[in-house]
Structures are given as C-alpha cells and as structure tokens.
C-alpha cells in the first residue's frame, strides 16, 4: 500500500512544486512546527517564516524556505500557498543576506505591532541559521 499523499506548493506567479507521493511534510505553522502525515485531519493553518521539510517516500528530503503562507490539508492533499519560497539548495547566499538586511531594518521600525515584530524576529533567526550553514 502506498502511504504517501499529494503535495502542492503554489505561489502567485506559478505552481512552484507538485509531488504525488510524499510521506511527510513538516511545516513551520503559526503555533509551532507541525508534521503532517497521511490521513491527517483536514486542517487550515498559517505559516510563519521558516523551513518546509518535504520527505518523499523514498526517504529523500528537501528543504524550502518560506516567508509566509497558508496551508490546507484535505483528502490527503496538502496545498501550501505562499508568496515567497526558495529551495534551500539553490538559494543564493547573497539573496539571503539581502532579505536578512531588510528584515533587520524592518525590526528597527518602531511603529509595527508586537505580533509583526515577533514574526520579523523569528524571520531573522531563521535566516541567520541559514547563512551559517
């Protein structure tokens, strides 16, 4: 029996990634990391900046960096909608530091809400860990 499910990642410009048979996806959900396996209950959740880990059935692992997004899981089909996503392997170090610099500038901005500040702080953390590797 096949115990994979379908994964679709779309961004506004195009369908970024579509896989028929993944065994597990770990997403940086709003209230903590969440691993999704087959036959998970239908769920809608938010993403915060972080890494999406995709495990295929042949135990290949792929990592993507997302900035924000929504996930929907229904009938063994996981849709991730995000406006900004990069493949970790292909990502340009320079690009990472660009985003990082922008985020660091944003966090200085005093007229943002605590929630937004928290998200940006988190983003900086993730980006920093990326540049270290």
């Amino acid at each position: 029996m096949n115990n994979g499910f379908k994964l679709e990642i779309v961004n506004p410009e195009k369908s970024f990634l579509s896989k028929e048979n993944v065994s597990e996806v770990v997403v940086p959900a709003y209230e903590g990391e969440m691993g999704i396996l087959k036959n998970h209950i239908s769920i809608i959740s938010f993403l915060k900046p972080g890494l999406v880990k995709v495990f295929e059935t042949d135990s290949k692992e792929e990592n993507y960096y997302v900035e924000d997004g929504i996930i929907e899981f229904k009938n063994n089909c996981l849709s991730i909608l995000t406006s900004n996503i990069f493949d970790i392997k292909k990502i340009d170090k320079k690009e990472v530091s660009n985003i990082l610099a922008k985020a660091e500038k944003d966090v200085q901005n005093s007229d943002i809400s605590d929630q937004a500040k928290y998200l940006i702080d988190h983003k900086i953390e993730v980006l920093k860990s990326l540049t270290l590797n």
């Binding site: 679709e8 779309v10 961004n11 506004p12 410009e13 195009k14 369908s15 959900a29 709003y30 209230e31 969440m34 209950i41 239908s42 769920i43 809608i44 959740s45 938010f46 929504i70 929907e72 229904k74 849709s79 909608l81 406006s83």
Partner: protein, 291 residues
C-alpha cells in the same frame, strides 16, 4: 486631383505605417504567449485561496463578529471602484471597454445617490476618466516600470485599498478589468471584492469540517487582505493577457487596412499616370495634325 508625386508620397507613408503595425502585431503576439502562460500559471493560487476562504467563511458560526472585510461595514454609502487598465494605447477597444463598463457602473451609483471614489491602475484609465470623474479619483497607480505583472505590484495596490478600508473611507469595493477569453474576445468584468459576494459564499456549503490553527476568525482576518491582493493580481494577469490579445487583433486589422489602402492608392496612381501619358499623346498628335 493630387499629382503623381503626391500619390507616391502617400503610398510610401502608408507602407511605412504598415511596417510599424506589422511589427507591433508580432511583438504583441510574442508577448501574448508569455502573458497567457502567466495568467494560466497564476490561476491555481487564486482558486485555492478562494476555496480556503469559502471553507473558512462557511465554518464561521458567529457572523456578527466576522471580519468586516468579509461581511462589509453594513452600509453601502460609499463605493470604491478600482479601474485596472493598461499603460499603453494602440490596443483597440481594450481600455475604452473597461472604462465604458466602469462609467455605466458609476452612473448607476450616482443615480442611487451614493458617493463614489475611484482608484485607477494604469495610466490610460486615468486619462480617460479624469475629465468627467477627475474630482473622485483619489489615487492613481501606475506600473509603467514593471515589464510583466508581478505580485509585489498587486500587493502595493491591495495594501492601499485595505488602508483606505480601515480608515472607513468606503463601504464597498469593486474592481474592473478585462477577462481574457481568447485572442479576439475579452470581456470587461466588474467584480466586487469587499464585502465578498454572499452568493459565492453559499455555493459549496457542504464541506467537511476543518481543524483550524489559530482560530477561524484570526485566520480569516489575516487571509482576507491577502485575498484582495490576490484578486488584484489575478485581474492584472488577465488584463495583461487581454491587452496583448487586443493589441494583436487591432494591429492585425490595421496592417490589413493599410494593405488595402496601398492597393487602392496604387490603382489611383497608375490611373493618373496613364491619364498623364494619354494627355501628352493627344497633345502631340493634335499638334502634328494642325500642321
């Protein structure tokens, strides 16, 4: 009667115009393919977004406390209309069709005694609306610098709309754009984005239960602003495909018309050349006869 030289000049000028229109047609055809591709690629995102919002709004039990972006302010006094047009002309009826649609909507609103605010996206729409509705235009956005429609631009426009909504500047928001059906048909559309049309919400009410994290209303209030940007982005994609399609057909018929004109002018030119020769001959013959 124009002289032979006049004809020659005229033919030359029509021919060079034809060259220009032909080149524009080919450029539009190439761009159309790209734009159409982009429009198709962009569809899954907006469809999925729509679906999620539908599911969410179905599961919201407490309609009273639902986010205002979904249910509206309860009033419908002030309408905000976002008119999306192109930045360039020479594309047939593309811009004027949107403007026409928008204008008839404006008239309807005015006759109902409601007030009107307009945001124009793309410079051509502004040019056509400023004479009559100049005082109602509160914002004009133009993306002349971006070659293709991109999401960041849409987000800028979306954020502006939400900002205005939060300041209670308007109660309802409608966007106008051309939907790309095929190369020769583009349908001007009006789409209400704030509040979301209730009949759309009711459509698929039979859905299984979802688990939400965080709570439904929190997701919704975060999602709805995004949806507005997404809808605008979709409209921009459809628009850019429509613009190229419209330009292609317009330039195609312009090229054909120029060809017809050249034919006609050439016949006239030959005729008057013949007439001049005949006249000269008659003169010579009658001169010889009189000797």
């Amino acid at each position: 009667m124009p002289s032979l030289d006049d004809f020659r000049k005229r033919i030359k000028s029509v021919k060079s115009t034809q060259k220009i229109t032909k080149a524009m047609q080919m450029v539009a055809a190439a761009k159309l393919r790209k734009a159409q591709e982009n429009a198709e690629k962009g569809r899954p995102y907006s469809e999925k977004m729509n679906n999620i919002i539908l599911n969410l709004s179905n599961s919201i039990t407490d309609k009273e406390n639902a986010p205002k972006l979904l249910t509206g302010t309860g009033a419908d006094k002030v309408h905000l209309c976002v008119v999306l047009t192109a930045d360039r002309g020479l594309c047939g009826g593309f811009n004027s069709n949107i403007v026409k649609k928008a204008k008839s909507f404006f008239k309807k609103i005015k006759s109902e005694g409601k007030s009107l605010k307009i945001i124009t996206v793309g410079s051509k729409g502004y040019d056509q609306l400023k004479r009559v509705y100049g005082s109602q235009i509160i914002e004009k956005i133009s993306f002349k610098n971006s070659k293709v429609a991109n999401y960041l631009d849409a987000e800028i426009a979306g954020k502006k709309i939400i900002e205005l909504f939060e300041k209670n500047e308007f109660d309802m928001c409608t966007i106008f754009y051309n939907q790309f059906k095929n190369v020769i048909t583009q349908i001007p559309q009006e789409q209400q984005i704030i509040p979301l049309k209730s009949n759309e919400i009711k459509k698929n009410s039979v859905e299984d239960n979802y688990e939400f994290e965080p709570e439904e209303d929190e997701i919704l209030s975060n999602l709805l602003p995004k949806n507005i940007s997404t809808q605008i982005f979709k409209a921009m994609l459809e628009n850019s495909a429509s613009e190229q399609g419209s330009r292609m057909t317009a330039m195609d018929s312009a090229t054909r018309n120029a060809g017809e004109l050249v034919d006609k002018l050439t016949i006239n030119y030959n005729r008057s050349r013949q007439a001049a020769i005949t006249k000269e001959l008659i003169e010579i013959i009658s001169g010889a006869e009189s000797l």
